[in-house]
């Protein structure tokens, strides 16, 4: 019988090794899998490559992994915010590498990773500093960049409700990067408010089908919420 539920976040992240590539969902604090991040801070894996849209928007996101010296490389679109100081310090002393990617290219590269497409062309960032060094090609008389897929060893995502098979629904704009990151990792771990029996979620409203979710962690009700979006 399929059982993806883990007892807690610590057990769900226990096997993550040094050097792993990690996709972290959320947009600022909304839809951020902060309990999984906290468990990984506790677990301590180092030299991580982290792919996440926002770095520094909140203290309990990727900023926590940076503070704890677990990150070697970051791929993101928006590396600024009130909790970006430690990132800036590490960029300056060379202990972290940063790749800034336009948000749509970031989403599409992850989607490509999940969909078996190694590379695609986009006009986004052509003729800009972020396009420098990339292979280019004209389509329809417009310069395009060749962009490569992103995949992760693990994805940390946040959902609202899951069933035992791993089907997921989200709450409002909590979706953001979570459904796409779920498709692009070898092991996708979802923290959710609630886990229900199969058949309890209407098949028409499932956003992330079961095939994309490998581990589930149910939040304890008292720890469920983040009160603030930004700090």
């Amino acid at each position: 019988m399929i059982q993806k539920k883990f007892e807690n976040a610590a057990k769900a992240v226990a096997d993550i090794k040094d050097g792993a590539t990690l996709l972290v969902g959320g947009f600022g604090g909304s839809g951020l899998p902060s309990h999984l991040v906290a468990a990984l801070v506790e677990q301590g894996a180092k030299n991580l490559t982290v792919v996440s849209n926002n770095i520094g928007a909140v203290s309990d996101g990727v900023a926590a992994l940076i503070s704890n010296n677990q990150v070697r490389r970051i791929i993101c679109s928006f590396p600024v915010g009130p909790h970006a100081d430690e990132l800036i310090e590490r960029l300056q002393n060379g202990t972290i590498e940063l790749e800034i990617v336009p948000q749509g290219t970031l989403a599409e590269r992850i989607r490509a990773g999940g969909a078996g497409i190694p590379a695609f062309y986009t006009p986004t960032a052509a003729h800009t500093e972020l396009g420098e060094g990339k292979e280019t090609r004209e389509f329809n008389d417009r310069l395009h960049l060749l962009e490569q897929a992103i995949t992760g060893d693990y994805a940390f995502i946040k959902g609202h409700r899951a069933d035992r098979w791993g089907n997921l629904v989200y709450n409002k704009t909590q979706r953001n990067f979570n459904p796409v990151m779920a498709t692009a990792a070898r092991i996708t771990i979802a923290e959710v408010d609630e886990i229900v029996e199969v058949g309890e979620i209407d098949p028409e409203i499932i956003v992330t089908p079961s095939v994309f979710v490998h581990r589930l962690v149910q939040l304890e009700p008292q720890r469920e919420g983040r009160v603030l979006v930004n700090e």
């Binding site: 947009f27 600022g28 604090g29 909304s30 839809g31 849209n53 928007a57 679109s77 928006f78 590396p79 600024v80 970006a84 800036i88 960029l91 300056q92 940063l98 800034i100 990617v101 336009p102 948000q103 749509g104 290219t105 989403a107 599409e108 992850i110 989607r111 986009t122 006009p123 986004t124 960032a125 052509a126 003729h127 800009t128 500093e129 972020l130 989200y170 709450n171 409002k172 704009t173 909590q174 979706r175 953001n176 990067f177 979570n178 459904p179 796409v180 956003v207 919420g225 983040r226 009160v227 603030l228 979006v229 930004n230």
Partner: protein
Amino acid sequence: MSKDQQKVGWSKIELATRVAQDLEDGWFVNLGIGIPTLVADVIPEGREIILHSENGLLGLGPKPEPGEEDMDLVNAGKEPITLKPGGSFFSQSDSFAMIRGGHLDAAVLGAFQVSMYGDLASWKLPNTTLGRVGGAMDLTVGSKRIFLCMQHTSKGTPKIVEECTYPLTAPRCVDRIYTDLAVIDVTDDGLVVQELAPGVTFEYLQERTAAPLKNHANSILQEETLHIND
């Protein structure tokens, strides 16, 4: 300000109102962070403009009442918002497929600099380590129209220039510039002033602009001359 000084230019809310006038019924529009956000509050009565937020929603509504904020319902600036009836949620990848696929009628964006050719610089200041590109490069290549909405100068320094000196967001992408002083179109024939804000003269505007401006009437004249020369 002494009593005899005439008011010069538009206030932020007047500027947003001027932008909103040009958004047509039924358009799908993305509003950038900053002054563009104000446009949401001044949509003309009777028009249905469907606002897009790149974190995954269509049908963005006004700010919630105090105490009604929901951390799972935020805009691209990560501020709590509401959803209008008819709105929808989707993922970031679907949201940017929408943007990059050319499905938005317009994006109203802020700017650090814009050139007379419509080049936009809006994501990174020079000599800084970190840019904050977010969705700006995707919006500029993907939206059917790019409207800028900004102060005409930055503390007196012109933001409209011959060539951008700041890192580009995208070249040749801006269609129209709305500032506190004027409405200016970016055309194949250069920057054409369509409208002056109250108390602003063409000369006053040109002094605060580091690229040559044409006014609409002259432009039409010149176009006719060009046609004669054809």
